[in-house]
């Protein structure tokens, strides 16, 4: 059963074709890495799959929902229920504490649940950092807050775009271990990276080149 499917997906920005006639699928519970050089279309593809962006042609199914049939509000609801996002730049709100940043995601999803937010921050190893603002946290800790925020509403799919791009090697290792752990507990994880060592930890690698799947 595929939780993600694209058929002949194309996305162009003017004359630039960022994703070119792409047909891929990801099974439920799979840990997949999208790999490719900078500019190969990884982020563009991820944005489309995460319902953050529209596409030019082709079809996309997320957990059985046809994205082409959804309007902005429909995509918003699907994103709220199915998708967790981890960003390279973390994108934490600087004036809210770690706990509040996580609860913010709960708020916009449904209602805030502080015990659940504490629990999830504990799970990523930040039980002692709940009331710190992002500025007082290390890069690795910030990324873990970001992961906790992505997970707090229990989405089945986690998208992580270069999640360790801004981290040192030790933290990179920790974050990857965390993603692997999530995968072991049943989540579908899509990791975008240009680092072959990280990609190698995934169940499967999809290599992109100029917006197409590239089979070496």
């Amino acid at each position: 059963m595929n939780i993600i499917e694209t058929h002949n997906l194309t996305k162009s920005f003017g004359s630039v074709i960022a994703v070119n006639d792409l047909t891929i699928s990801v099974r439920r519970g799979e840990f997949v890495a999208f790999m490719g050089a900078s500019g190969s279309g990884k982020t563009t593809l991820l944005n489309i799959l995460a319902c953050l962006d529209t596409f030019t042609s082709g079809e996309v199914f997320i957990d059985g929902h046809n994205l082409a049939a959804l309007d902005e509000e429909g995509r918003r609801v699907l994103r709220a229920n199915k998708i967790g996002l981890v960003f390279q730049q973390f994108h934490l709100i600087p004036y809210l504490t770690a706990l509040e940043n996580v609860m913010l995601a709960q708020h916009f999803h449904s209602v805030t649940d502080e015990p659940a937010a504490r629990q999830i921050l504990g799970d990523v190893g930040l039980a002692h950092r709940l009331h710190h603002r992002p500025g007082a946290l290390s890069g690795g800790e910030q990324q873990r807050v970001c992961i906790a925020r992505a997970l707090v509403n229990e989405p089945p799919i986690l998208f992580a775009d270069e999640p360790t791009g801004n981290l040192d090697e030790e933290n990179e290792c920790n974050i990857l271990a965390l993603l692997q752990d999530l995968h072991r507990r049943g989540r579908t994880v899509v990791l975008v990276t240009h680092n072959p060592d990280l990609a190698a930890r995934a169940d499967r690698i999809i290599r992109l080149h100029h917006g197409k799947v590239f089979e070496p």
Partner: protein, 407 residues
């Protein structure tokens, strides 16, 4: 947490917040002062314009008849008695002067005390209804044989202030002052009514009386009443009667003084209403302009805030926040600024109204406390109106481009 978000974003960019607060503050200060003026300008300006003359002339209903001065206090007993600023009876005639020549005299009230219920120490006379009279010397005392000589008459006869004249062969009268009115009085010897009645042998009588009343601008209803009072429906009649139109006050004067006919002096009365109406319109336009300018200021500031916080907005969108929900944050933020600016504006407006009232009308304008919530609501309205357009941009903001730090 949301309150916290609003609060933090509110004071995170103190310069912009201060600008927003200042914008709303300036507008509400101006608006509340203008409002206070608009409300009181009717009364105050009518009062001012009154200094250019009485607006109702009371005459005997039948030509050749006279008014009984005993009836005159009833002028202050009509429904709109509080709008009657004052009145002065008029009695004209000629008497012989020292030199044997004739002199035209006018008997009237200068500053006559009159017992009136509910108004202690009420005085009436030319001093009240003709404040534009310029006196060289002093006003005569109504109870003494004193007189004002019209400027041109005095010049012709070579009369001076302080001189004693002998009228009608036997009556000594002291010239307390020389009068410059710019009107017919400049040719007359103006004396207390009682003295004129005695000299002319017409006790208790007057030819006419000038009445000065505060009136509201004429409108369609009063015009209809003027054209044909019988054409008014009962309801219209009640409204007309209970409104301080010059025509309804004149009507009530006729009811109070059966032998009299009250004639509005339309020139004065009509221009009063028109001028007050125009000034109020002007103030209203100025108020609207202030409102619009402030809203535009808030719009520019909010647009800046949205641009600056694009990343945060994009994140909230990625976290599945509804655009409506995000807009609420910005609306709440400007509302807080608006309330602060509005509260300060109310205070400044109050001071401004006091000051303006003092310069314009010589009396501080009262600002009703009831206007405070009104002005606060207006402040919020300005802010929300201003924020509305830029906040709509939130819906169009694409999170994909902002969030992944492209290029």
């Amino acid at each position: 947490m949301l309150t916290q978000m609003i609060f933090h974003s509110w004071h995170r960019n103190p310069r912009r917040t201060a600008l927003t607060v200042t914008t709303v503050f300036l507008a509400t200060a101006l608006i509340s002062a203008l409002l206070a003026i608009t409300v009181s300008v009717g009364d105050q300006m009518a009062r001012e314009l009154k200094s250019y003359g009485a607006n109702i002339l009371l005459e005997p209903a039948v030509d050749g008849d006279y008014l009984d001065t005993q009836d005159l206090p009833r002028i202050k007993e009509i429904f709109w008695r509080h709008n009657i600023l004052g009145f002065a009876p008029l009695l004209a005639g000629t008497v012989t002067a020292d030199d044997g020549g004739e002199v035209a005299i006018l008997g009237t009230f200068f500053d006559q005390p009159l017992p009136v219920e509910g108004e202690d120490d009420f005085h009436t006379g030319q001093k009240i209804i003709a404040p534009y009279w310029r006196i060289d010397g002093a006003w005569p005392d109504d109870a003494r044989p004193e007189a004002l000589a019209g400027a041109r008459l005095a010049e012709r006869r070579g009369w001076r202030v302080g001189q004693t004249l002998t009228l009608a062969g036997a009556r000594p009268v002291v010239l307390s002052g020389i009068l410059e009115s710019g009107g017919e009085e400049d040719e007359l010897l103006v004396v207390p009514l009682a003295l004129a009645q005695e000299l002319l042998g017409r006790p208790g009588r007057a030819d006419a009386a000038r009445v000065s009343a505060l009136t509201v601008p004429e409108n369609r209803l009063s015009a209809k009443a003027r054209a044909n009072r019988d054409a008014l429906t009962a309801e219209e009649y009640d409204v007309w009667y209970c409104t301080a139109y010059v025509s309804s006050i004149a009507h009530q004067l006729e009811e109070a003084l059966p032998g009299a006919r009250a004639r509005p002096v339309w020139q004065v009365a009509a221009s009063e209403g028109v001028i007050v109406g125009k000034v109020q319109l002007l103030l209203l336009v100025a108020t609207l302009a202030a409102l619009l300018a402030a809203a535009m200021g808030v719009a520019a500031l909010t647009a800046g805030a949205i641009l600056e916080r694009a990343a945060e907005i994009a994140l909230l969108k990625a976290l599945a926040a509804r655009p409506r929900h995000i807009a609420l944050l910005f609306h709440a933020e400007v509302t807080v600024s608006a309330l602060l600016g509005g509260a300060l504006g109310c205070g400044a407006g109050w001071l401004l109204a006091r000051h303006l009232g003092q310069t314009l009308f010589g009396a501080p304008l009262a600002m009703a406390w009831i206007t405070v919530p009104g002005v606060l609501a207006l402040a919020v309205a300005i802010a929300l109106l201003g924020a509305w357009l830029p906040v709509r941009q939130i819906a169009a903001l694409a999170p994909a481009e902002v969030l992944h730090g492209r290029r």
